[in-house]
Structure formats: C-alpha cells, structure tokens
Amino acid sequence: MNYLSPAFVFLFLPITMCVYMIFPKKFRWVSLLIASYIFFYIISSYVIAYLLFTTISVYTISNLMNKVDRHKLAICITGVLLQLGILIFLKYTNFFIGNMNIVRDWIGLPTLHRMKILVPIGISFYTLQAVSYLIDTYRGGIKEPKHLGKLALFLAFFPTVMEGPICRFHEISSTLMEGKSLQYHNITFGLQRVIWGIFKKVLIADRVNGVVNEVFQNYHHYSGIVVVMATCLYTIQLYTDFSGSIDVTIGIGQIFGITIPENFRQPFFARSATEFWKRWHITLGRWFKDYIFYPIALSKTMRRLKKRFNKRQHALLGKNIAVAIALFAVWFSNGLWHGPQWKYILYGMYFFIWISIEVMLEPTFNKMYARLGIRTNARWFSYFQIIRTVLFIILGELFFRATDVKAGFYMLTSIADISLQPLLDGSIFQLGMDRRDFFITCIAILIVFLVDVIHEGGYSIREGIARQYIVKRWTLYYIALFVIIIFGAYGVNYVPISMLYADF
C-alpha cells in the first residue's frame, strides 16, 4: 500500500478520518498513532520492531538527558550513534561486505557472504527525525515534557513516514497533537493539494518511467540525443514524483489540520547549487546544515585550525578550510544517505566540488563580473544562472540514475555522438512513449512549469481559485480530476511504479 493506492485512498484514509472524529479531541492524536502503526505494519510487516526500538530508545535517552546535568553530551552522542548504527547496519552492511570482498578477492582471501537484511520502509527518514529529536533535546529546543505516545506519533506519522518531509518535533507537534476537528476548508484545500500531487506523479513521472528505464538499463544501445532526452526526463520524473508525493503528504496533513513543512520551493529557479539545495528536499538540506555543517564548521577544532592558518598569513585558506571540511562531511553523508552505492557517493562529491567552488570562489567571480561590466542583478544574468544551474543538475542526475559509476561515465561520453537520427526516423517514439504520450507529457510539464512560475512570483493559486464563484471553481476541479482519469499513466496498461524516494 502507498499513498496513491486505491486501498489507501478509498479505505484507509476515509476510515482514519471517521475514527479520528469519533475520538474525543484530547485523544485524537491516539487515533492517528494507531492508524500510523497499522499503516507501517502493512507496508513493513514485522520489521516494525525497528521503529518500536527506535521510539523507545529515543524516549529513554531523551528522558535521561533531562534528568542529568553532567554527561548530557555523552548520553546524546550515545543515543545518536545508536540510531545511526541501526541505520548503517540495516542499509549499509552489504555495501561494506561487497567492497571488502573486492579487496579480499584481490589479495586472495575467500569472500564473505552477504546478509539477508529486511529494511523497514522510511528508515532513512524516521531515523533522521529521531536524531534531530535527541539533539534538539540536548540543545534545550524541546520544552514539552517527554511523552512516549506523542514521540511515537512524531516518528511514525503515516503521511510522512515513507518519504518525509523530515520534520522537527517543535515545528509539527502543536498541530499534530492538537486534535483539531475536520473542517470543510481544510478537507477541500487538502484534497486539492493531493490532486495536484497525483497530477504530477501520474501524468508525468509514471508516464516517462518506461523511456527512462529502457535507456538507463540498456545504455549500451543508446547515445547522443536519446541519452540526453532520457536524462532530462529522469530529472523531471524525479522532481514530479518526489514533489508530487510530498504534495499528497502535505495535503493529507492539511485534511487533519496538521501543518507539514514544505519540501520543495520551485527548485529549478535556483541560480546556484547552494540555492538549489535550499529549494530541493528542503528538510534534508536543513537537517544536514543544522546537525552536520554548523556543528563542524563552528566547532572548537575548526576555530583552532582557522587561527593556526591565520597566524601563518593564510587567512583565505583559514576561512575556507572549515567550510570545506564541513561541506565534505555534509555531501559525503548526503550521497551515502541516498543509498549504499558508489554512484550516490559520487553524486554527493559532485555537489561538494560544485558548492565548494561557488562558496570559495565567490569573491573572485564577483571581481571578474565587476571588471567585465556584468550587472549581476540584471534579468538576463539571472536567466543565465538558472539555465547553467539546471544543466549542472541534469548532469548530476545522470550519475544518480545510472546503474553504477561505470555506466554513468559511459553514458556521459556517449552523448558526444550527437545525431538527430532518432528524432528524424521516429525511433525515439518506440522507447516507451509514443507521439501522443510525448504530447501529453509536454503539456503536463508546461502546466507544472507555469504553476511554479506563478508560485515563484509569490501568488497562491489555490487561494486565487478559492476566491472564484462556485461554478468556476468546480469546473476547474472537475477538469483536473478528468485530466488525471483520462490521461493518467496507471492501470492495466502500465506497470505500477512505487514512489521513487521511498526507496531511499
């Protein structure tokens, strides 16, 4: 079951809403907790035990931190290492074994057997939430008394458990535990958000999947424009799939009157890699910033290192070394978080290099622009930055999607074989999408782009529609629903595609 399956939409969610309303206001959070655990059990079966262990251990450790004054840091570190240890064991054991086997094979030792490990869905997400809870408790950021049930709901809340967003306790707890009654405005606005998410996933992400899979799995057969097209489509697929799923998540939250933080803010309007990661998977970037980047960059060790460089007249190096080390830690972790494969680490290092160049060479670039007379606040310059950023993002996604690092480089070099032949002879329409599919996909992408343009301008489309007369409003809603029903890529002619980020 996932958020877009009929069982969830027509059975689980309506029943949860009914049960929620039956419970007295003070205990409605309990109904959400029960629903969340039922949902988690359905999607992960007996490995729910890991979630339970995480919940109980975080509760115990955070309580302990509140009771003691001394050794608080040590207790916090123990708790964090415990949570991360579980994640590393479940997700990365076979990765380490695989790499060790390469070395062992090389030196003539027998290889080790890989372990059969069942990983709970969403572990990468709820573990980061658990770690943030512990660290925020240590920092004094969580004022409420510890409550096992409420902590359990925070970690297992069913709309966020599969793909995030990665929430902080203080930003969600008030609305999560409030038990607000279901209100017509919240239900309608929530459903609108859900429908928008389904539009993105079912009209674009799921439709292009056939072409993306075909080209990336059989990359030896393709080159040039086909590889470029598939990479662009994958980038669009990843965005519409992930942001669409987040729209559904936020919409479900809104139905219950729960405010879930945004995870995307028109990422393809970013003018730099740094800005991109403030607009894409916002909560993950924020987590790394708050719990890895700043703790490292502002640590005593880094300050001492900076002083040492400054004493030796290397002020520039001193200023950048802390940033570089912290960035390295962030991007290595980011890459590894996405999965136990070298291609993800490469992806992380790609952004490390790019962002490091941006940060460290910013003064140099500014001087260069000034000398060349380039007005960096000019509109054309913004467009240039946006296009440049998008191209670099697409390049990164090629490696992200490729089956492995070797395949990624092969595909990259194959782009040099530029030929328009697949477009001219129509073979491009036999990869998984025919001409009509392409047409519908292009229209849908255009609609998503226009919506993003409007949102970038600060205008809320939903509020704008809500101000219209009922006939106009309902006409728009019906058009949206029927566009999904008629043109959506789902059902007997399509292979069901799971939510992409749930696999991480």
Partner: protein, 326 residues
C-alpha cells in the same frame, strides 16, 4: 446555529460535488468508448448484460480459464452460433451462480458450459453477496478508471456518443504474449479430487437452475497444465456421471496438439490467443453436434455481423500476420 448551517451547507456541497462527478464520469465514458474497444476485466464479466435479450444460445461460465480458452467470435465466424463467455478472474462458484441467475432474467440459452477450474477453488467465499454487488456497481460506475489510453484511439472528426458499450470479443480476452510452461513432473496419481462443500453446493444450485429453465449443462475443463491433475479429472468425471452431465476435458484431447512452449502466456496457467484458437476450434466442432442454429443470416444478429468484422480486423487479421503456421 450559524455553525450548524455552515456544516449542513458543507455536507450538501460535498454530496452534490460527488454526484455531479459520477454523472460526468458516465457522460465522458460514453464519448470515449468506441465500438469494440477492449474493456476492463470487471466489465467483461458482466458484458453479457449488454447483449440484446434472448440472443445468446450458449453461455460459457467460469473463471479466467473460461475467458482465455474460448473465443465466441471465432465460433460465430465458423458456424454462426451465438455464445458468450461470462468469466471473471478468480471467480468462485457461488458468484458464478449469482451471475447466471441474473443473466437468465435476460437470456434464454440452450446450453451452459461450466468451466471446472473454479469448482476446485479452496476455502470459503468472503462476503460473496457484498462483493458481487460491488462488482456489479464497479462495472457500471468505473468505466473511465479502467480505460487508460482510450483517448489515444480518439478520432476527433468522428467523435460521437455511445449509448451503450458492448464487448465485441463477447467475453474473450486476447493475449499474444508467450511464456513457456516448464514441466515440473506432476505426479500421476489415480486419486479422485472433489470440490469442497461450498463449491458442490453451488454447483448443484447451478444444475438446479439450469434444469428449471430447461437448459442443458455441460462441464468442460480448459487446457491448463499448471492447474490440471488426474485427481481433478477423475473427480469431475464422477460428478458428470452422477449428475448425468456431459463432460469434456480438453487436457486429455490429444487432437488439440497443444504446444506449451508457445500456447501459454503465463507458464501454463492460461492459454494465449494461439492456444485459445485451438481449444475454440475444438469446442466449435463439439457445438456442431448440439441443437444450435446458425444465426448469421438472422436479422436480429446484425450487431454480431458488425462485431465480427471488427474482431476480424482487430484480432484475427493482426494475429494472422504475426503467428506463422497458425
């Protein structure tokens, strides 16, 4: 008071929105359904209800084995017999009984061929009446949800509403994929396997219903090496003798010349079109021995002639080119 008024208004608006949605769904479906378009499995199982009354002479009743083994259109093209496959995936005998009972309000067939695979379905049906009613509603009210890609067939110059959809395949489902059957060495026991209590009960009800309506019932077993056993064969044979019902087991008919390396699309569970043509040809010859009339020149069957042309174009001609020596 004001709050109550607002709440009532919200409920009324919600109900109205949903009702208008379903009305629009039906309307849009009428425009997007073209003559002879393949439709969902849920609707196929109820396709017999879209045929004009008293025009079906033979009903094939069963689960997925029925709609993958018999193509009524090819029987029509050969001998002009009007038959219909009322099959549904995973159907239980109890639901087959419900469907036949309902179908006999509108049709007066001379024969009912009962496919035997569903008689051996294990366990008890869960809430059969509820699921039968849900299947009924789903066939009516979810046409669009299951008609993906119908929009690609639209010819904007010929857009016209269809007042009623029909299945030109008459319940048959075409599948041209090939996945060979791998013989795992089935044991050749001579034991007898009988249907469980629930299946026997509803088998007897179907028999009783047929007797009341003066319909001759025939048991037939579609070719399926994955599901067939000697025990089941013996069980059906003994049931047929006990209830004096003719029985045909296509699994033992060597004249079919089944080639399970190419005649199945799912490793021997069901036949593909290539296999179905063989079993259909056999059953057509069998039906020739029954008291059935050639309706090809009957004016009441003009729609069958039209459906047959469409079938020829969409299925037969396409497959003729793709299958060598068919």
């Amino acid at each position: 008071m004001e709050k109550n008024k607002r709440e009532k208004g919200a409920i009324v608006k919600s109900i109205l929105f949903i009702l208008i949605f379903f009305a629009l769904l039906q309307g849009v479906s009428m425009f997007l359904v073209k003559d002879g378009s393949p439709i969902s499995i849920v609707q196929k199982s109820r396709g017999i209800f879209s045929e004009p009354s008293n025009t079906i002479d033979v009903i094939y009743l069963g689960d997925s084995e029925s709609y993958t083994s018999i193509s009524p259109m090819e029987i029509w093209q050969t001998y002009g017999f009007a038959s219909y496959v009322a099959g549904s995936p995973g159907r239980r005998t109890i639901n087959a009984y419900f469907l036949l009972r309902e179908a006999l309000k509108y049709q007066k067939p001379k024969y009912v061929f009962l496919e035997t695979n569903m008689l051996f379905r294990k366990g008890k049906a869960k809430l059969p009446t509820l699921f039968y009613q849900m299947e009924k509603m789903a066939a009516l009210y979810q046409p669009m949800m299951l008609r993906q890609n119908e929009w690609k067939k639209l010819d904007l110059m010929k857009l016209k509403p269809m007042l009623r959809w029909k299945d030109f395949m008459k319940g048959f489902i075409y599948n041209d994929r090939v996945k060979p059957y791998k013989n795992k060495g089935q044991s050749d026991e001579q034991t007898e396997e009988l249907p469980n209590e629930e299946n026997m009960l509803y088998f007897k009800k179907i028999k009783q219903l047929c007797d009341e309506k003066n319909i001759k019932m025939i048991l037939y077993t579609a070719p399926t090496p994955l599901n067939w056993t000697k025990g089941k064969h013996n069980g059906i044979k003994n049931m047929a003798e006990k209830y004096e019902i003719p029985m045909i087991d296509l699994n033992v008919e060597t004249s079919l010349n089944m080639d399970w390396s190419v005649d199945t699309y799912d490793g021997g569970n069901h036949m593909n079109y290539r296999g179905a043509r063989k079993s259909t040809a056999f059953m057509a010859e069998y039906m020739k021995t029954l008291e059935l009339e050639d309706k090809r020149t009957d004016p009441r069957y003009k729609h069958w002639v039209k459906d047959s042309e469409f079938y020829k174009k969409e299925v037969f001609d396409k497959d003729e080119k793709s299958i060598p020596n068919s």
